[in-house]
Symmetry: C2
Subunit: 365 residues, 2 copies
Amino acid sequence: MRKRVTLKDVAQAVGVHVSTVSRALDPKTRHLITPEIADRILKASERLDYRPNAAAYSLKTKRTRTIGVIVPDITNPIFPPIIRGVEDALADQGYFAILANTDGKAGREAAIADTLLWRGVDGLVLASVERHDRLVERLLAEAIPIVTVNRRVEREDIASVVHDDRDGMRRVLAHLADLGHTRIANIAGPQSFSTGRERYEAFESVRAALGLDPDRRLVVFASGFNEDEGERCTAELLDGGVPFTAIVCSNDRLAIGAIAALRQRGLACPDDVSVTGYNDMPMLDRLFPPLTTIRIEQYQAGAMAAELLVEMIEEAPEHRKPRHIVLPVELVVRGSTAPPSPARNAARPKGRGRKAAVSENPAAG
Amino acid sequence: MRKRVTLKDVAQAVGVHVSTVSRALDPKTRHLITPEIADRILKASERLDYRPNAAAYSLKTKRTRTIGVIVPDITNPIFPPIIRGVEDALADQGYFAILANTDGKAGREAAIADTLLWRGVDGLVLASVERHDRLVERLLAEAIPIVTVNRRVEREDIASVVHDDRDGMRRVLAHLADLGHTRIANIAGPQSFSTGRERYEAFESVRAALGLDPDRRLVVFASGFNEDEGERCTAELLDGGVPFTAIVCSNDRLAIGAIAALRQRGLACPDDVSVTGYNDMPMLDRLFPPLTTIRIEQYQAGAMAAELLVEMIEEAPEHRKPRHIVLPVELVVRGSTAPPSPARNAARPKGRGRKAAVSENPAAG
DNA sequence: TTGTAAGCGTTATCAC
DNA sequence: GTGATAACGCTTACAA
């Protein structure tokens, strides 16, 4: 591990003082230096392969050029693209990311934020916020630059990058209505998250706008965005006895669970019930059936969040104005949606005989 | 952002000198301090919520307690669990990870390593190495602690955590042989990676040991671990005209491509051809058919790699002895493998009529 | 056992 | 324009 070259080494090589070198190397102060000397300094630092010492820089400036990224769980496939977006955008600006997983536990989240702050991160990208988030309140109080991505908190003064959930839900319902569905169920996500909430609200308002059957019993709320909840909610829907021909799910994993639950009851997707997801996570096109869903720009969202954050960090605190970005979404039609089959519906399945009526099969498998 | 409390503040509060505080706070030097005073210092630092300044610590000690993690692409589902393992284990030891993606480009890899080193990482976890790796050579020359995970380089002096590929391949082939397969094809991974190489070598040696048909034409080499290559290689296998009833793939993504290619030719898995994957990435159980594969302990591998690395970092350089860890694997039998159907095989498909003989369908769809 | 002081590599505030 | 100098917060000989 060869000794690292410092400002002093460069100064010695050129025959000037370190402070001169420091000024010459910083574009903001270079104009203070005689161009000819500045040039020689630049050349020498190049030749010696000088790299500023990050620790010394941080100690002096109180800035680390490091930002923390807090996600629930990197293992959940919607986060990696976001993280890559964040990292790539940060790298472009000479920043680094430190990643931390909360596993959705608020206590852990607070502890993690503490550690990151102590470590001196300049700001935080939060992919794990709830609509009313204690951690965000605290960070706001301490004036730490933050931006939320994917989800947002219900405050205008916190910067965010999210996707157009209302438009997404509108596209899903329009697609289903186009196919001829009128009795459409909804597995809504947890209402403590902005995504769960907004998709649910959009479902209700769009459903009304399209003149679809507004039966309240066709909505059931999942307590988490996962396959198990998708199964449970679907069972609940089927047991409710209210007929429907399609299920709109608040995310892909709920949809995967829904399809599994239907299959357990001897119901086929999309033959008996159409199912839609949300997020377009990887591998969805390889499932059986391939899932119709809403594609969101995860990478782009991460990248923009990082840009927003760096902007805030480099802005003087008093000029910081939290920006909000809403990214467009896209409908991806695949095999899990089809026109409702006239002779069938979920509550009164008929057909190939291998199917059982819901009433004969009250409990989930 | 309230002012941070420093050693000086604690010293002032207790009425001693900073150096005394520093010593009292470090378990290694605490014995030098009068217990009673040490106690008061500990209490005060607790009360004031003292946090050591990471930059100052690094500047002084040249250690950052940060390690770099280089992966090809975090978006590839086998990496997130590894990364979580690394991060969790590091967190336990008071270290942090900075993540970087190379996208498999050697040039980018070198640049990234440079940046990380300049940033002062204490060591590196490499999940992206080739069997003969230039970057590793360079890091070795500079005496940077490194450990490779998942893959390894062909040098005994580089610490590594890998999985037992020979045993995995043995289990796969034994399973297939048990089912009655004798003509088994292999889509081998890139031979520049230890995984691709070792799985291929194990395939050959186990195939011989089990007395299976050793036809060389039943092996084809993928140039990447992805679905497209799986499709291409399967087409090549089918076009080769040598009959087989099963395809062993070097990873899951190749297997997914293989199944797609079979379907394009009107061949069903596992009815006509059994297919196996390797890695057990997420969602495999939701595919159609669910994929039989080898499960590897990704999280555990990441965690052990991190522990190994920290151990090396904290060891005096002259005592560093690279350790090699090989983790056990497990066979997961799902729906993509079945006994060979006597009337059928890939080269002479018969059956439901919707199938076409290979010779009628020479090119991939 | 504790205090003193130097120094890690930078940037910022002075003088000159 | 450039150089000297202090300071960021910490660790660590060395002195007391």
